[in-house]
């Protein structure tokens, strides 16, 4: 649980950073160590073993392999693609029965209720999915198999099939040495989760700036950083993750014909109705469209919505168009780092065709 207090501390730090202090030469003094944002959290690895390369490699194969789906064409990567910011570029994801093509051109009848959340930095989160119903990646991995509109195949059945594929038994044996049997549901989930934990975005311009490189941000981005604190964004999108394990109702209209109570579906508390998990802003420019409905296409429009909500609901000070532009520049450019973007396998242990990504048209 990312505690509110941590966010408050970070707020203090970031405001100090944003204001900076001007030295005699007109440059901004690099921030002092004690004013830096909260430490980058240690990634929780609840399920030993620690990720080894064999484990991550196995997880990568399972992630891209449609072997787990009822139609043999749908994989984790269908809705979480490295080409679309570890999301899918769709307003709401489309599950089973929509073919091998993924990305914004994908069409099918199994339209899910929500926008696919990005997998960037899920390693640092203790609540996952828009409603927070999963507490770990290992737990989350199993959910799409059980969902009839996603992969629609009993997880045990998937594990049994994988156990019968020699190329996989070799990979599992390497990833879980000494375990007999090595191909188990728990190990399947462990491997996929280990792969997902390699998706870390932490080396953007912002990170260089707080590490002392005053030139990492240009004047507009620095302005944006200040606005980010002043407008209250930091209270929920707490650095360094620019996320928190909290839930908020930000007045995003629902989709006609779709019942979605958000967090209340997990807590049973009416007060949580319409509240959704605070997403990370890291690599945001690639993971649109935005919000749980995917109704907002542009990042700038999403930022404007949030600033407006903060004014309206939280009593944050109003921002000028110029300041909002600066904020957009900060979020878009300073928090962007996809050095750990995963590599798509050339062929899969199951021999099945890999989902074909990047229809090549960005809307």
């Amino acid at each position: 649980m990312y505690h509110l207090r941590s966010a408050s501390r970070a707020l203090t730090a970031i405001v100090l950073l944003g204001c900076g202090s001007v030295d005699g030469n007109g440059g901004v003094t690099p921030p002092q160590a004690e004013l830096l944002p909260a430490e980058w959290p240690d990634a929780p690895f609840p399920a030993a073993p620690q990720p080894r390369s064999e484990l991550v490699e196995l997880g990568r194969m399972l992630f891209y392999d449609p072997v787990g789906s009822n139609d043999r064409q749908t994989a984790c990567a269908t809705c979480h693609s490295e080409i679309w910011g570890m999301s899918d570029g769709l307003e709401r994801s489309i599950g089973l029965g929509a073919g091998l093509f993924t990305g914004p051109g994908r069409a099918g009848t199994n339209v899910l209720r929500r926008n696919a959340p990005t997998l960037w930095n899920t390693a640092f989160s203790e609540v996952l999915l828009w409603d927070g119903r999963a507490a770990s990646l290992e737990e989350q991995v199993r959910l799409p198999f059980e969902a009839q509109d996603e992969l629609a195949r009993p997880f045990d059945e998937v594990v049994a099939e994988v156990a019968a594929i020699p190329a996989y038994t070799t990979l599992f044996a390497a990833a879980f040495p000494g375990e007999e049997p090595a191909v188990t549901g728990a190990n399947y989930a462990t491997a996929v989760a280990a792969f997902e934990r390699t998706l870390v975005s932490r080396r953007g311009r912002y990170d260089a700036y707080v590490a002392g490189d005053e030139h990492a941000l240009d004047a507009q981005m620095k302005r944006g950083l200040f606005v980010f604190a002043e407008a209250g964004c930091v209270n929920c999108h707490a650095p360094p993750l620019f996320a928190s394990d909290r839930f908020a109702n930000r007045g995003v209209p629902g989709v006609t014909g779709v019942t979605d109570r958000g967090r209340a579906e997990v807590t049973g508390d009416e007060a949580d109705s319409g509240a959704f998990k605070v997403p990370t802003l890291r690599n945001l420019q690639e993971s649109g469209p935005y919000f749980h409905t995917g109704a907002v296409t542009s990042l700038a429009e999403a930022v404007r919505h949030e600033v407006h909500q903060s004014e309206l609901v939280d009593g944050a000070p109003p921002q000028t168009d110029e300041d909002i532009d600066a904020l957009v520049a900060f979020v878009k450019k300073a928090l962007f780092d996809r050095r750990d973007n995963p590599t798509r396998p050339g062929r899969l242990p199951s021999g099945l065709p890999i989902p074909i990504d990047g229809i090549g048209v960005r809307r």
């Binding site: 649980m1 119903r133 507490a135 019942t259 109570r261 997990v266 807590t267 049973g268």
Partner: protein
């Protein structure tokens, strides 16, 4: 009845499946001076209580540790969150739970007083009051024990019965193995004890009063609820399955040997919630759940009706009558109760002054302004029920002589056509107590 309870308690305590309960039952009472050797850290009331307590948790409490609260009144302006360490205990070190008061009257942030998301958590011997939202919430963990605590609000509502209190006092949700013992919950604008989407709930020896719902067990699998004193609520018990939640079933509830009385409090729930539809004066409301056995309870002085078994259709109707909107349809959650068994309960002086929606039923009972039957069923069948018998709405002694099917599906609000024949209802089911 008493024999059954004590045997049950022993079984529960002995069971390895509920190790937390066994541990907490075995531990000696903490000494009153706040210096228990079992305390990893002891906090004392000061000028900045919320921050002091949170810092103690964040910086000093690790897995297996105990945070002790020295006697006194703590004034908290922020919630307390435990999200890292597991196997943690929060323990008040006073002679009684009243000696350690966590007063959240000045709370400014957080939607609950105490929020815990880690496994094997125990909270005992203290009093939490006037939280801004819910009282003590444990979310999504395995093994949560609430022992000898008091959670409530001084002023639950205004003169017009608008809520001033939080929704839930003791609030385990998504918990596997929740144990709530010897505690008191009062003044909640929804439920005093709300266990939602849990697997395994044991609650006994508790007092729940002055809430809209005394005890609510919702979308849960496995509940053993006994020896509780449930009074002065709008509705004593709500045993329910609600749509549009993650967990899609509610079953295997055993509710026995409770004292369910004087639940005649005006409803002060937030508008357009399910709690707002709870009829004043109700002992038991069974809503769309299945495999529910209710036995050995003493049910008295509930002015509306002793027990009602209803489908979700009724809640939609009541919501509409209250000016609200029916819930969105959820085809994956059943709307109809089945396999419900009321038997061997004692009833006295219930149904003497039904109000609001219950008056429809009272009017049906031969023009009387009372509801003399103990157990009422709305008679609405689900698609899996070929006939009344298939629904397995079962009544034993003495309920079979005081049963009403008011045929809500066909009566068009004319409940004079109600029937009392129990030919299709003389079945039985058995819900095993937990711990077996």
């Amino acid at each position: 009845m008493q024999l059954r309870t004590s045997v049950l308690s022993s079984l529960v305590v002995l069971s390895g499946a509920f190790a937390t309960l066994a541990c907490s039952s075995d531990s000696a009472d903490p000494p009153p001076d706040g210096t228990s050797s079992e305390c990893t850290v002891t906090v004392k009331p000061g000028d900045n209580d919320a921050e002091d307590i949170q810092s103690a948790i964040d910086e000093k409490i690790g897995t297996g540790d105990t945070l002790c609260f020295a006697p006194g009144t703590y004034e908290l302006d922020d919630h307390i969150v435990l999200g890292g360490a597991s196997k943690v205990k929060f323990v008040g070190t006073g002679k009684s739970r009243d000696d350690v008061l966590l007063d959240f009257s000045s709370q400014k942030s957080g939607k609950e007083g105490i929020l815990v998301t880690t496994d094997d958590f125990t909270i005992e011997n203290l009093w939490v009051k006037n939280t801004a939202g819910n009282g003590v919430q444990v979310q999504g963990s395995t093994n949560a024990t609430f022992k000898n605590i008091k959670v409530g609000w001084d002023k639950p509502s205004d003169e017009d019965n608008n809520p001033l209190s939080g929704g839930y006092a003791i609030y385990p949700t998504g918990v596997t193995n929740a144990v709530i013992v010897d505690s008191e919950m009062y003044g909640a604008s929804d439920a005093g004890l709300y266990a939602g989407q849990c697997i395994g709930v044991i609650a006994h020896g508790n007092k729940s009063h002055g809430n809209v719902l005394g005890i609510e067990i919702e979308n849960t699998t496995g509940a053993d609820i006994y020896d509780n004193d449930v009074y002065d609520n709008t509705t004593g018990f709500l045993l329910d399955l609600l749509p549009n939640l993650q967990k899609k079933d509610a079953k295997q509830y055993l509710v026995h040997d409770n004292h369910v009385h004087d639940n005649n409090h005006p409803n002060f729930a937030e508008k357009n919630t399910v709690a707002a539809t709870a009829p004043k004066g109700t002992g038991f409301l069974v809503l769309a759940a299945s495999e529910v056995e209710v036995t050995g309870n003493q049910v008295e002085n509930n002015e509306g009706v002793a027990a009602m078994i209803v489908s979700y259709d009724i809640i939609d109707i009541l919501a509409a009558l209250n000016g609200g909107t029916p819930a969105a349809p959820d085809p994956t959650t059943s709307r109809w109760p089945s396999s419900i068994y009321f038997h061997g309960n004692e009833y006295q002086n219930n149904g003497t002054a039904p109000e609001d929606a219950l008056l429809f039923l009272a009017a049906g009972a031969e023009g009387a302004k009372t509801i003399d039957q103990y157990v009422l069923w709305d008679g609405i069948l689900g698609p899996d029920h070929a006939d009344d018998a298939a629904a397995k709405i079962c009544v034993g002694d003495p309920e079979k002589d005081a049963f009403m099917n008011y045929h809500a599906d066909t009566s068009d609000f004319d409940y004079s056509k109600y029937t009392t024949d129990t030919t299709d209802h003389e079945c039985t089911i058995s819900v095993p107590p937990l711990g077996h």
